[in-house]
């Protein structure tokens, strides 16, 4: 009975989606503002990656909302799964069961992941990528040693400090733009953060700084979240009594 109702609901949802898709003309872009953004963006914002321009310059408030969503999710997981780390250090010690290949492979992969993550963050406004993608790779780089080695623990105080500071820097750069009589979170140019040529690393004003703050915040958040889930003591049958 439950399977039949599930099938009916998903069939109804598929029907509604197909009806919506059938109304759209095939092969033509829907949004009218996209063409204008493509024409105006290289002169106004100065990034080679137009997606970065839309994410941070034209729709910066939505990126701030995405940061708030990620922060809320990580806080929720922290509330449910967080526990006193000092009390947990001795009792649930993992035996070093990782083999030779896992240990040496992790030692080789962590610097590579850090370099790739920071490269994607720094060049986010020039090549495809940006803060979110690089941040996820950084989170994996921070989290991987705690999974493989038994004596490596993530310093949760440092992770929380990094996350809080990066989020605050994002908002502070947005407020700094208002001092120059721009809108909130608009990338601006002064003598230090130059506009530069299209495709340079130091171009588009304060937009790379916003991406850096975003990447560090996402990386620290996800590393803390994964570490909290991984360090949670294993549920056995006797704990349910």
């Amino acid at each position: 009975m439950r399977n039949v109702s599930g099938l009916l609901f998903s069939g109804g949802l598929a029907f509604l989606l197909l009806v919506m898709v059938a109304q759209l003309p095939f092969g033509q872009p829907l949004m009218l503002v996209g063409q204008q953004i493509l024409q105006v963006s290289p002169n106004e914002v100065g990034t080679a990656n137009v997606v970065a321009a839309v994410l941070l310059a034209y729709r910066g408030i939505d990126t701030l909302g995405e940061l708030a969503i990620l922060f809320t999710a990580a806080s929720g997981v922290g509330l449910i799964l967080g526990h006193l780390y000092s009390a947990n250090s001795g009792s649930n010690k993992k035996v070093d069961k990782s083999g030779f290949i896992t240990l040496k492979g992790t030692e080789l992969m962590v610097p590579l992941l850090l370099v790739v993550g920071f490269y994607i963050i720094f060049y986010g406004h020039v090549t495809p990528g940006g803060g979110f993608q690089g941040g996820v790779i950084l989170a994996i780089a921070f989290f991987l040693p705690t999974l493989v080695r038994s004596d490596a623990h993530l310093d949760h105080q440092l992770i929380n400090v990094i996350e809080g500071l990066a989020g605050a820097v994002f908002i502070l750069i947005g407020l700094w733009a208002m001092l120059y009589h721009h809108a909130f979170l608009q990338p601006f140019f002064n003598s230090v953060f130059v506009k530069g040529h299209l495709g340079d690393l130091f171009s588009a004003g304060t937009l790379p700084l916003l991406y850096l703050a975003l990447g560090l915040k996402v990386g620290a958040e996800l590393a803390g979240l994964l570490s909290m889930i991984a360090d949670f003591p294993e549920l056995t049958g006797e704990q349910n009594k």
């Binding site: 990656n49 997606v51 994607i120 495809p128 990528g129 940006g130 979110f132 993608q133 996820v136 790779i137 989170a139 994996i140 996800l222 994964l226 889930i229 991984a230 949670f232 294993e234 549920l235 056995t236």
Partner: protein
Amino acid sequence: MIWIVSLLVFIMLASALAVLLLPNMLAAVVASSVVSMALALLFAVLKAPDVAMTEAAIGAGLSSLLLALALKRLGLWKLDN
């Protein structure tokens, strides 16, 4: 072009079916990771590199890692369905 897209969609559907039908739970998590990887390739073929990178990093990497860690904490690591 249509052949590549059809092959990727077929791989996605087959892996999604495998998630439901595989008895080993860890293999089901890996099959869901294959769905995300095929979707990331589809985005790359459709010329959307930012979305492809995000989908590859989060869907094929983080989401499967999260599910596998949850399986381990629930003690279902080696259990068959």
